[in-house]
């Protein structure tokens, strides 16, 4: 054992010194560096995104209830080191002299908000600035709508219950204002200490008690796990992940972009490791034969190989992790303005992950060809043509791919994404292999009419058969991923950002009485706002499904209960609204009012377990309406247009319509017009989602920068595969070129032949890669991100020309030194 270890260490040192391990080690370092950098960065970015999403809740975790929640919750949270804030929210009529207005009174303690910050202004609809603290006892901060309606200036007095409070600021923004359209009345924020003296809340009063919690992610998650089973059904717990549809959608997508990049990088690096290991193994055939002839046993050969690999894994993991740390630091510096001071968690997890990756990659993809070395016949020292029986990688590679898939799952925890990425790459490899075999054979037949260099080059592609197919698959995979990278980066990110253009709606106008619809439209147009489309808006409660009352089929999740118990916003439409896509059933073409039809959003359908054809019974202002589910819609909630979980066909609810709603874009210069609008249309409620919009945009920008950077690693991994593929036939090429030059071929002829061979390989791989990338791009866009995808001829052109050029030039350059080695030297070294 001691002897084995000693020899393995010496052999490792020698191999490392002589550069024998360079490609294998390089591929491993790329994989580990990419994985750890992405691991570190993804966790940091998702932490930043989570914090940003948490702003919408003003906390990491929010508990809402119709009764004051138990003090035990607060005590437990404090014991776990979490910050706690309490809020009480209730409707009340607020007076200013003789005028009155229904308002939402929000009584907050000094800790509110735990995430995000309040913004205040000096005049209604004036420019906001960050607030310091919150209203003190005796003070009130009221929002622009309330002050505009009551015509109270800052410094004036509002009568809130038994208290006369001085308005010390206009409440311009509070982080949790956009978490839904439920709070329709304008808000007045007062100090929690004023709640009792106001005498507004007595026994039985209708109010919402809210407790906010915030702290380190682990502690919050642990507390949430503790609280969830203990809270009563009437208490609603919301975490940052489910804060708002818009935020959720944006956060999920950005996370997926990053994870996709990480997955693809690791898989490509695995291909590079496998390629490099094949070459390493083939280069060791002679050495192993020599060692065996000198008396080394199979166990010795195996042991040395295993120990050397373990040392490579350790060294690769160490260097890769260090590089990963460095790259992550660079990345964090690049996007430092977006990270808002989120510090990296000083955790060793990514380092362990890096070591795990290195071991799995080497054990899975490098060990199988190296294990075959034990079967090298020792007589190879005398007869160089003796080789071990053909290598069979099938089973070990499948096992390794599974292990890698598990590792990737542990990293991203998104089975669908891992499934698509691993499955996509496996299917691509298979298709590339089969198509490559056909093309390689066809190439041999094509060489007839070409010149010497081409004939030699094309003949080589055909003659190397198996090696050529392996090269086509490897190069094809890396080109597929690089093309996919181009598609995802440009098309998907553009498409996503286009969905939220600069003029995206930033204000919702709701409660528009039908009689005022025209005048409101005219008012907006007169103030330079694009003519809005008004959606009818009906409030209704779901009472039954297929005749079964809702009480009998109450869903378990909080969200499902909310759908089942609360009043829902309904609308109707003849056409499928933008941002909506039918995923099941069909959109109505000529609806029949006698047979009411309804379309449900996927969230509603999933939470309540509905399907097309189910009968939904509604209570619409006391009237019973039963409608059949005609279709299920996937809604893009981050489009900032009025969207509904429930849409009826026209003709059913027309008579029940109470009001209309719309969304408009108002720039800073147009905002003051809102004061006039609210005065002219006192019943219309304006909801400002500008800040929410800004948050979603910032997540998108952040994701775009991060994805581009992470894709940098993918690019390096792709190039590593390319390099490993080119290297794989280098030794053979060296010998062939020596023979050709000995026979009188000029260096140029040999080089042209090599260039022809690589160009042909690149062209083949490029055509196949373009097909694979387009197919995967389409799948990823439509299935994973819910975006429209159009096939782009540039991808094909890029694949073909790029493949031929990239592989041709890189291959020729990498092989040039081989061609230029003196033939005598090459032949002597065999």
């Amino acid at each position: 054992m001691k002897r084995l270890l000693r020899y393995a260490f010496v052999a490792f040192a020698r191999d490392a010194r002589s550069g024998e391990l360079a490609v294998l080690f390089g591929a491993l370092v790329v994989a580990v560096a990419a994985l750890t950098a992405v691991g570190f960065f993804t966790s940091r970015i998702s932490q930043a995104i989570r914090l940003q999403a948490a702003e919408v809740l003003a906390a990491d975790l929010r508990l809402e209830s119709g009764r004051a929640p138990a003090d035990a919750y607060v005590a437990e949270a404090r014991a776990r080191g979490l910050a706690v804030a309490r809020l009480t929210s209730f409707p009340s009529v607020v007076y200013a002299g003789p005028t009155s207005q229904l308002a939402t009174v929000l009584a907050a303690d000094g800790a509110y908000p735990l995430r995000g910050a309040l913004r205040i202004a000096d005049v209604p609809y004036g420019p906001g600035r960050p607030a310091i603290g919150s209203p003190r006892p005796g003070e009130a901060w009221a929002d622009s709508r309330l002050l505009a309606r009551l015509a109270v200036p800052v410094g004036g007095t509002l009568q809130v219950g038994a208290l006369a409070l001085r308005v010390t600021a206009v409440l311009d923004y509070r982080p949790d204002q956009g978490s839904g359209l439920a709070d329709l009345a304008p808000t007045v924020l007062i100090a929690a200490a004023d709640l009792a003296p106001s005498r507004l809340l007595g026994p039985g009063s209708r109010a919402t008690w809210i407790v906010l919690f915030a702290g380190p992610a682990d502690a919050v998650a642990a507390f949430e796990a503790w609280l969830r089973p203990r809270k009563s059904a009437a208490e609603r717990l919301v975490d940052a992940g489910e804060s708002s549809e818009q935020m959720k959608s944006a956060t999920e997508r950005s996370g997926r972009f990053l994870n996709l990049a990480a997955l693809v990088t690791v898989m490509l690096a695995a291909v590079a490791v496998a390629m490099a290991a094949r070459r390493y193994a083939s280069r060791r055939l002679d050495l192993v034969a020599l060692l065996k002839s000198l008396g080394a046993s199979q166990g010795f050969v195996l042991g040395v190989t295993a120990i050397e690999l373990a040392l490579v894994a350790l060294a690769g993991a160490a260097v890769g992790t260090l590089l990963g740390f460095g790259a992550e630091t660079g990345l964090a510096w690049l996007v430092r303005s977006l990270l808002k001071g989120v510090l990296p968690a000083p955790s060793l997890t990514p380092a362990w992950l890096g070591l795990g990756t290195a071991i799995i990659m080497l054990a899975g993809f490098a060990l199988p060809p190296l294990l075959e070395l034990r079967r090298v016949p020792p007589a190879r020292v005398l007869r160089h043509d003796l080789a071990p029986p053909p290598l069979r990688y099938g089973a070990p590679y499948v096992a390794a791919a599974l292990a890698l898939a598990l590792l990737l799952y542990a990293l991203v925890r998104d089975p669908r994404l891992v499934g698509y990425a691993v499955g996509g790459l496996a299917v691509s490899a298979l298709v590339l292999g089969v198509a490559g075999l056909g093309l390689v054979r066809a190439t041999g037949a094509l060489r007839g009419g070409a010149g010497l260099a081409w004939r030699y080059g094309l003949a080589n592609v055909a003659r190397r058969g198996r090696e050529s197919v392996v090269q086509v698959v490897a190069v094809g995979l890396s080109l597929t991923v690089l093309l996919l990278l181009a598609i995802v980066r440009n098309d998907l990110l553009d498409e996503w950002q286009r969905s939220l253009p600069a003029g995206a709606p930033n204000h919702f106008l709701i409660n528009i009485p039908p009689a005022e619809a025209d005048s409101l439209r005219a008012y907006l147009v007169q103030h330079g706002v694009a003519e809005p489309v008004l959606s009818p808006w009906v409030r209704a409660r779901l009472v039954s499904v297929n005749g079964q009352p809702m009480q009998a089929r109450m869903p378990k999740s909080d969200r499902g209960r909310a759908f089942a118990e609360r009043e829902q916003n309904l609308s109707w439409s003849a056409t499928l609204p933008p941002d909506n896509r039918v995923v099941d059933g069909a959109w109505w073409t000529s609806p029949d009012a006698a047979h009411p039809q309804v379309s449900v959003a996927t969230e509603f359908q999933e939470e309540l377990g509905l399907k097309v054809g189910d009968q939904l019974g509604f209570d619409v202002a006391g009237e019973s309406v039963v409608a059949t589910i005609a279709n299920v819609r996937k809604v893009r909630w981050d489009g900032f247009r009025p969207n509904f979980f429930l849409l009826f066909a026209p003709g059913v609810l027309d008579a029940s319509t109470g009001t209309y709603m719309t969304s408009v874009h108002l720039d800073a210069a147009q905002r003051p017009a809102l004061a006039g609008l609210v005065r002219e249309h006192p019943s219309v409620t304006v909801v400002d989602v500008e800040s929410l919009l800004a948050e979603v945009r910032s997540i998108m920008d952040r994701a775009a920068v991060a994805v581009e950077y992470v894709f940098g690693f993918t690019l390096v991994a792709g190039l590593a595969v390319l390099f490993a593929a080119i290297q794989s036939t280098r030794d053979e090429r060296r010998y062939e070129s020596a023979i050709l030059r000995t026979l009188g071929a000029s260096r140029r002829t040999v080089l042209y032949g090599v260039a022809a061979e690589f160009t042909a390989l690149g062209l083949l791989s490029g055509v196949l890669a373009a097909s694979a990338a387009s197919a995967i791009g389409w799948l990823v866009a439509t299935r994973l991100f819910g975006l429209h995808y159009s096939f782009d001829p540039v991808v094909w052109l890029g694949g073909m020309c790029g493949g031929a050029l990239l592989v041709g030039v890189a291959g020729t350059l990498a092989t040039r030194s081989v061609v230029e080695t003196s033939p005598a030297l090459s032949l002597r070294e065999g």
Binding site: R6, V10, D15, S18, K292, G295, G299, A379
Partner: protein, 227 residues
């Protein structure tokens, strides 16, 4: 006492054209300390026979005895152990490990056999072939003749019973080749090693005490050469 014996050894390989017989029914014995040359034209089966004698390959039929041990009764590891203790090799293309220095190359068989004082003994062996000053050089920094001298030092460092040499001068010019041959025979005499040499150079073969001639896999002559 015979250190090596070949009994009706046959080696066949399958090819698309059917079964090919590379070595056909070859029998002979080699006494301890004897020097034997195997000669014959290209493709006559010399190297294949050498591979079987050294236990690098097994005969399809027949028996090879090395130090009285039937090689076909041993598995590959058993044969490797036997080689490590009793056999040395010199090859036409030297087969030095490019990543190892001259000294490390010579140490290799000692390390594999787990011998003591490997460095010291390897250094002595290099001194014996006149290459002590080049101990730290890598094979690519050595001439062909020097590389073959390192290979001879490596072959003899473990004091093997039998030294197998496959065209040891085949890759060298005639002057260097002659010097290498001198060294090989001198050391062989000095250590009392049995030498089995495959060559197509009659002059070299004549320096051995005995010459076997192969033709198309058959042993056609077994000649004692007068010293």
């Amino acid at each position: 006492m015979q250190v090596l014996e070949s009994r009706q050894v046959v080696r066949e390989v399958s090819s698309p054209e059917g079964t090919l017989t590379i070595v056909a029914d070859v029998s002979f014995g080699v006494e301890r300390g004897e020097s034997l040359a195997i000669v014959g034209p290209s493709g006559s089966g010399k190297s294949t026979l050498l591979a079987m004698l050294a236990g690098l390959d097994l005969p399809t039929r027949g028996t090879v005895l090395l130090n009285g041990v039937d090689l076909s009764t041993l598995d590959e590891d058993g044969r490797a152990r036997l080689r490590a203790g009793h056999v040395g090799f010199v090859f036409q293309s030297f087969h030095l490990v490019p990543a190892l220095t001259a000294l490390e190359n010579v140490m290799l068989p000692l390390e594999l056999a787990g011998s003591e004082r490997a460095t010291e003994r390897a250094r002595e062996a290099l001194e014996r072939v006149g290459l002590a000053p080049r101990a730290r050089h890598y094979p690519r920094q050595l001439s062909g003749g020097e590389q073959q001298r390192v290979a001879i030092a490596r072959a003899l460092v473990a004091r093997p019973d039998v030294l197998f040499a496959d065209e040891p001068t085949g890759n060298l010019d005639s002057v260097t080749g002659a010097r290498i041959a001198d060294l090989l025979f001198d050391l062989n005499r000095e250590f009392g090693t049995t030498l089995v040499l495959v060559t197509h150079e009659i002059a070299l073969a004549r320096r051995c005490g005995r010459m076997l001639t192969l033709d198309a896999g058959r042993l056609v002559a077994d000649t004692r050469v007068a010293a």
